[in-house]
């Protein structure tokens, strides 16, 4: 049976700039927003956009990611035909196989998976960004323009533009040039890492690229430049919603803080565009007599006896009397003792913070402190797998 569009989600990245947060889990499995993991956003976007067939390409530390995705029921992707398929690297009979050597290589090695659905178009996504996007609108634009490839772009401030892969376009949105992190940007349209290709065209480029000995087998470095070089029709699709790369500790913290604004750009409380995730199945949160909670996002299973100000608290967190948490992100199942002070910090899942601890620097320009007690993280994640 044919599918018009199949999504391929690149979820094998290590995310080294997230430091110990990704020591044992792939970047797309990193927690965000009091309840979610990063990968919930592209998966929910697929479901909400009517894309019911998603291949998830895993490689780095896939244990948590594999069990988290499961058969995709939490995103309504447990389908009789299509649904979610986790696609790890594998051994091939003649070529021998081995690790995915680049983003393009990962798709190349799964041509057979895509051929099963005989799709007209392939949507390539990365599991690194926080955003709500209707991919079906982008697909309509891609089809209407007759493009071979459509790349979703977002306007970024000019002074930050040189951090991104930039698309130079003409007036009608045709991409004329692609520059990876140029020193002197000619455009401020940054690639969001969301691509739609005509499958017949992409397949040809993937096969050609696989034979290139010196290729890094990467979409941004090899496939897109090769297509541009051949004057393929490539369109830029401008997205104007909230989009954030949460690749560093600081940007992850900042994106969490963005949710606390009175009218956040990214509204999670949105019936028309739910972000789905695996439910931790815990009782309602309890805010005690002594508690003082302001400007916060707090999830189920929490028991708050202290002060929470301008912070995001994931499920199952206990905060005892006298503790003050400000401008911080506290990930699941963290137990915070009495009279603890936490400022501008990210506390990794499962950490235990002892009575009287002082964490983080309250001054506004200070670096974000990351607390990750590796042993307790491991113990808890392991426990999570067993319980769920």
């Amino acid at each position: 049976m044919k599918k018009e569009c199949v999504a391929m989600l690149l979820a094998g990245g290590q995310g080294t700039r997230l430091k110990s947060l990704t020591k044992q889990i792939a970047k797309p499995a990193v927690y965000f927003g009091g309840k979610y993991r990063i990968i919930d956003f592209p998966l929910s976007n697929c479901t909400n956009s009517g894309i019911d067939t998603v291949g998830v390409l895993t490689q780095y530390e896939p244990l948590i990611l594999n069990s988290y995705i499961g058969i995709g029921s939490d995103w309504d992707l447990d389908r009789k035909y299509g649904g979610v398929s986790v696609l790890p690297p594998y051994v091939q009979s003649e070529e021998g196989g081995g690790w995915y050597t680049g983003t393009a290589n990962a798709i190349y090695r799964n041509i057979k998976f895509l051929n099963q659905y005989n799709p007209d178009h392939v949507l390539v996504l990365s599991g690194d960004h926080i955003y709500k996007m209707d991919y079906s609108d982008m697909l309509d634009y891609h089809k209407a323009s007759g493009a071979d490839a459509t790349i979703s772009v977002i306007e970024v401030p000019w002074d930050e533009a040189s951090r991104f892969g930039l698309m130079n376009t003409n007036e009608s949105g045709v991409i004329t040039e692609f520059e990876e992190k140029p020193e002197n940007p000619k455009s401020n349209l940054a690639s969001m890492g969301v691509y739609i290709f005509r499958w017949d065209v992409l397949k040809r480029y993937l096969i050609d690229d696989a034979d290139q000995e010196h290729s890094s087998h990467d979409f941004g470095k090899d496939i897109i430049p090769a297509m541009l070089g051949d004057y393929k029709k490539m369109m830029a699709y401008t997205f104007d919603g909230y989009w954030k790369d949460v690749g560093t500790v600081a940007s992850l913290w900042e994106a969490n803080m963005d949710l606390l604004k009175e009218k956040p750009e990214l509204e999670l409380n949105d019936y028309s565009w739910r972000i789905y995730s695996k439910s931790p199945n815990q009782p309602p949160q309890y805010i005690s007599h002594e508690a003082n909670v302001q400007n916060a996002l707090i999830n189920e299973g929490c028991r708050i006896h202290g002060t929470v100000d301008h912070s995001v608290i994931f499920y199952g967190v206990h905060v005892q009397e006298g503790s003050v948490i400000q401008d911080s992100v506290v990930m699941p199942e963290v137990k915070i003792g009495k009279d603890v002070t936490i400022n501008r910090a990210i506390i990794a899942a499962g950490s235990v913070i002892e009575d009287g601890a002082v964490i983080g620097d309250p001054s506004p320009d200070s670096d974000i402190t990351l607390v990750a007690d590796e042993d307790s993280v491991l113990a808890k994640s392991y426990l999570e797998q067993i319980i769920k």
Partner: protein, 368 residues
């Protein structure tokens, strides 16, 4: 391991929670911020590895069916066994059964087809966190025909008047089942017995024109059969009136009660709504309150329970109240000792005040 099947018998549960049971049976009444009463019974069964469960429903079960779906939330969407919601649609012209025995008789296939050796039968008005495997162990050790579950309550409240009480000898054998108002051995409307024994009793009851399985089949035969009593010692709430509903809801604000009921090793499951975390604004002031997900709180809330998706606007004040799913409380409204059913809207500056002994109950979807 012995296999146990479960029957949740709602037939004799009256819809006595006033406005809350106008359009739903009491098993489907929302409780504790995100659950329905029946979630506790089903979760207890599911946590006790009971994988085949029938629900005997007779009235007002639309909301119940909507909630239970295929049983996925309790891990009961199974190929072997699973959840069976069995409303009264039966058309056997030779059927002479009466009362709740109609359910047992007309759904006898559930009992004959199950692979289980034992059957637990339970209502939903006794909220608790019980392990039926422990009950089964004691049942087997006692050699009894039937084991009934009871709670020794510390203090008798009006809700216990209607419950059956047990007189028990030193060996744990039930010697009398009665309504003595002074007794604090409250029968929890749960019993376990062998499947074949249950089957024989059902046939026998119907043949003799009985109508209530527990009263006519078990209680009436007390002299002939061996009934053992299993004492449940955990958190317990018997809810059969608005007053008991309100009092037991409030008691969940007490940390110890809450911990007894919601155990990490035996979680209570419910239908997942995919709500985001609750958002507290700069002006919010919340104390001693249970809050479910998806709420947006800008006002003041104390000693209360907020279900999923409740919105409390700036300047609104909520005290000693239970606010169910998706209610919206507009600015400067004042609610005290109030129970709002789902989807209610209280507009600007309205004041609703009940008394602690008799909370003011507002039916579902009322705007005022």
């Amino acid at each position: 391991m012995d296999r146990i099947a479960g029957i949740i018998n709602l037939d004799h549960e009256q819809d006595v929670l006033d406005e809350l049971t106008y359009f739903r049976c009491s098993a489907a009444v929302p409780f504790a911020g995100r659950y329905r009463m029946i979630d506790f019974t089903i979760s207890n069964m599911s946590n006790s590895r009971i994988e085949s469960i029938a629900v005997f429903a007779r009235r007002k079960y639309r909301s119940l069916m909507d909630h239970l779906e295929q049983g996925k939330a309790w891990d009961l969407d199974r190929k072997r066994g699973g959840l069976f919601i069995l409303p009264p649609d039966w058309n056997d012209p030779t059927d002479i059964s009466k009362g709740d025995l109609q359910h047992f008789h007309n759904n006898i296939d559930f009992i004959t087809r199950t692979f289980a050796d034992y059957v637990v039968v339970s209502g939903t008005q006794n909220i608790c966190n019980i392990n039926f495997r422990d009950v089964l162990e004691e049942h087997k050790a006692s050699g009894a025909d039937v084991t009934v579950v009871y709670k020794k309550v510390e203090e008798l409240y009006p809700e216990h008047r209607r419950a059956h009480k047990l007189t028990i000898d030193d060996g744990g054998r039930v010697t009398d089942i009665h309504n003595d108002q002074r007794s604090n051995n409250v029968y929890m409307d749960m019993y376990i017995l062998e499947k074949n024994y249950l089957y024989g009793m059902i046939e026998d009851c119907i043949a003799h024109g009985c109508s209530q399985f527990f009263l006519d089949g078990i209680k009436a035969r007390l002299p002939e059969i061996h009934i053992h009593a299993y004492e449940y010692e955990g958190a317990h709430a018997l809810i059969n009136s608005v007053e008991s509903y309100y009092r037991h809801s409030s008691s969940l604000l007490n940390g110890a009660n809450h911990e007894d009921l919601f155990k990490e090793e035996a979680p209570i499951f419910t239908k997942v709504k995919n709500e985001p975390p609750t958002k507290y604004s700069q002006e919010s002031k919340v104390t001693n309150t249970l809050v479910a997900n998806g709420c947006v709180i800008e006002g003041q809330v104390e000693d209360s329970i907020l279900f999923r998706g409740v919105k409390v606007a700036k300047g609104a004040v909520i005290k000693n109240s239970i606010i169910m799913q998706r209610c919206e409380i507009d600015s400067n409204a004042i609610l005290e000792n109030v129970i709002l059913d789902k989807d209610c809207r209280i507009s600007n500056s309205r004041t609703l005040i009940g008394v602690p002994e008799k909370p003011y109950v507002v039916a579902k979807r009322v705007s005022m």
